[in-house]
């Protein structure tokens, strides 16, 4: 089946055919009479969710996507500033350099995203130690004291969440140089996550037996969905800027990190060899949608936004 020839042929009889391709689902009903049924029967199983994801992402602007990223980078940068200032990192240990290196990258991400948003004519989200987007020190309390171990746990949650967050918006930058930049930040966050996890004696990759997946504060990072009763916002005001986020899809929820099905293929039973659920879950990281990341159960609860 030559899809493009079909469009040409359709347009010869119906000059307005291109306007009819507005609803993604109607594409196939329009083609039904002309396409070979066998080709349509071979539709990849993930098509339904793919259309919903593509549809959800098409109304955002690059500035909005970047401001979302910047919000998370400001949160991380300030968190590491507080971590360094806490006095819990033992002097002359490798942790000093590791946290410094990670913070250096987060600061660089903040600078890069801020500059890029300004170049695009947008207003960048801002944050300092006392204003705008920053880590909420009240995350630590008598029930969750500001110990080195707890700082590291929050660091792991932030990094693993950041990796999921970038993944969730990549599709909106399809085909752009901006996408390349997002990918180049995203893989650095994954390196951070891996090292923090190593510092915590965990596997560098997300495992379906992660210790933080059972700690109430951090469990949502490894799951999906919104807190019970929460409504998903469609815009965020943070650090002096307001930006939209894609509508949260309840019909196409984000996968949980223990997921073993990719593109309709069950990785444990559907491949040339059998694999364990643990290996299958670890081999693919999962995305989270913006509303989930910014919810009070994840970044929204770890950050002060104004």
């Amino acid at each position: 089946m030559n899809f493009f020839k079909i469009i040409d042929q359709l347009s010869e009889v119906d000059p307005d055919v291109l306007d009819r391709f507005d609803s993604r689902r109607s594409v196939f009903s329009s083609l039904g009479s002309m396409a070979k049924r066998t080709a349509l029967a071979a539709t990849p199983l993930f098509l339904g969710t793919m259309f919903q994801k593509a549809y959800a992402g098409t109304t955002s602007t690059p500035v909005e996507v970047l401001n979302y990223a910047l919000t998370l980078e400001l949160l991380e940068a300030d968190f590491y500033r507080q971590f360094q200032a806490s006095g819990t990192i033992t002097a002359s240990t490798p942790a000093v350099a590791a946290i410094a290196q990670i913070k250096k990258h987060e600061d660089a991400h903040v600078a890069l995203l801020t500059t890029t948003i300004r170049q695009l004519g947008g207003t960048p989200v801002a944050g300092t130690a006392t204003t705008g987007v920053r880590f909420n020190p009240a995350v630590f309390s008598s029930s969750f004291p500001a110990t080195y171990a707890n700082y590291l746990a929050v660091a792991q949650a932030l990094e693993d969440a950041g990796v999921r967050a970038y993944k969730g918006r990549a599709g909106e930058l399809l085909g752009t140089d901006l996408l390349t930049v997002a990918l180049q930040i995203h893989s650095v966050e994954a390196r951070h996550a891996a090292h923090i996890r190593t510092m915590r004696s965990q596997t560098p990759w997300v495992s379906n037996t992660d210790d933080l997946a059972t700690v109430p504060l951090t469990a949502p990072v490894y799951a999906s969905g919104l807190p019970s009763g929460a409504t998903a916002p469609t815009s965020i005001t943070a650090g002096g800027a307001t930006y939209g986020i894609p509508a949260y899809s309840t019909t196409s929820p984000s996968p949980v990190e223990s997921n073993v099905v990719q593109s309709g293929v069950n990785l444990t039973t559907g491949l040339a060899s059998q694999y364990t659920a643990a290996d299958a879950a670890a081999s693919f990281d999962e995305y989270l949608q913006a509303a989930e990341i910014l919810a009070s159960s994840r970044a929204g609860g770890l950050a002060l936004l104004s």
């Binding site: 089946m1 899809f3 493009f4 469009i7 040409d8 347009s11 391709f21 594409v27 196939f28 083609l31 080709a39 349509l40 071979a42 539709t43 990849p44 993930f46 098509l47 793919m50 259309f51 994801k53 593509a54 098409t58 490798p94 590791a98 290196q101 250096k104 600061d107 660089a108 991400h109 890069l112 890029t116 990796v163 993944k167 990549a170 399809l174 085909g175 752009t176 996408l179 990918l183 180049q184 930040i185 995203h186 893989s187 650095v188 966050e189 994954a190 390196r191 891996a194 090292h195 190593t198 560098p204 990759w205 593109s263 293929v265 990785l267 491949l271 290996d279 081999s283 990281d285 995305y287």
Partner: protein
Amino acid sequence: MSDNLQSRSADDASFAQPLYTPIKRRSFFMYAGATAGASALVLAGCSKDSDSTPSLPAGNSNTSNGAISLGSGDVGVLNYAYALEQLEADFYSKVVTNGAAVLSATELAYFQQVAKHEAIHRDFFKAAITRDAGTQVLRGLTPKYDADTFQTRAKILTVAQTFEDLGVAAYNGAGKLIKTAAYLVIAGQIVSVEARHAAYIRDLVSYGSFADDLQVNSSGLDKAMAPAEVLAAAQNFITEKLDGSYVGVNN
């Protein structure tokens, strides 16, 4: 319609310039996502296209100079990823088989997991490309290594780090070539796992080098390499000659 798209691209700064190719009417659908699924359907048919589109090489076809083409468009990107995952899966399976004498028990256990991840990536791409593009799926390749590769911990780690950093750069550089959003998500889900592998191996080579200044630049960016550059490096480890000239190319 194409005028609207081009004026939007003109307003954006160079960072956000969406497209290098002029918007043709048929290409509009790819960028609007409307044919995100249909592009998967036509992957099998595109290469055998007749009068109205230029002929692009099919994935897994033999080129006139004795190479194997990875194919064009999204098929090319998927086969490109599949080739790299084949290499990594083969390497780690050999590490697991041969490395017990020179790796610690913990290291061996972790490499056994990494080997599983890469095998899953490899098998996944074979299954997905076969499903979406049938005959264009890349054939099984024959990796090759220096004779002493698996004899010392240092050599194993050096090659492992090379592969993982290269894989991250490859996915980062290939991302913008992908036209189908669902494939981009898949690539994104894999590259972060490769980055985790890379960080772990770097920490074995030199603890704390998980994201050092040679790998991550002053803007905090990881490397991104174009297919040609990646394939030139990977070719040292692959017996068959691969041709990635049309990876991500659609017309």
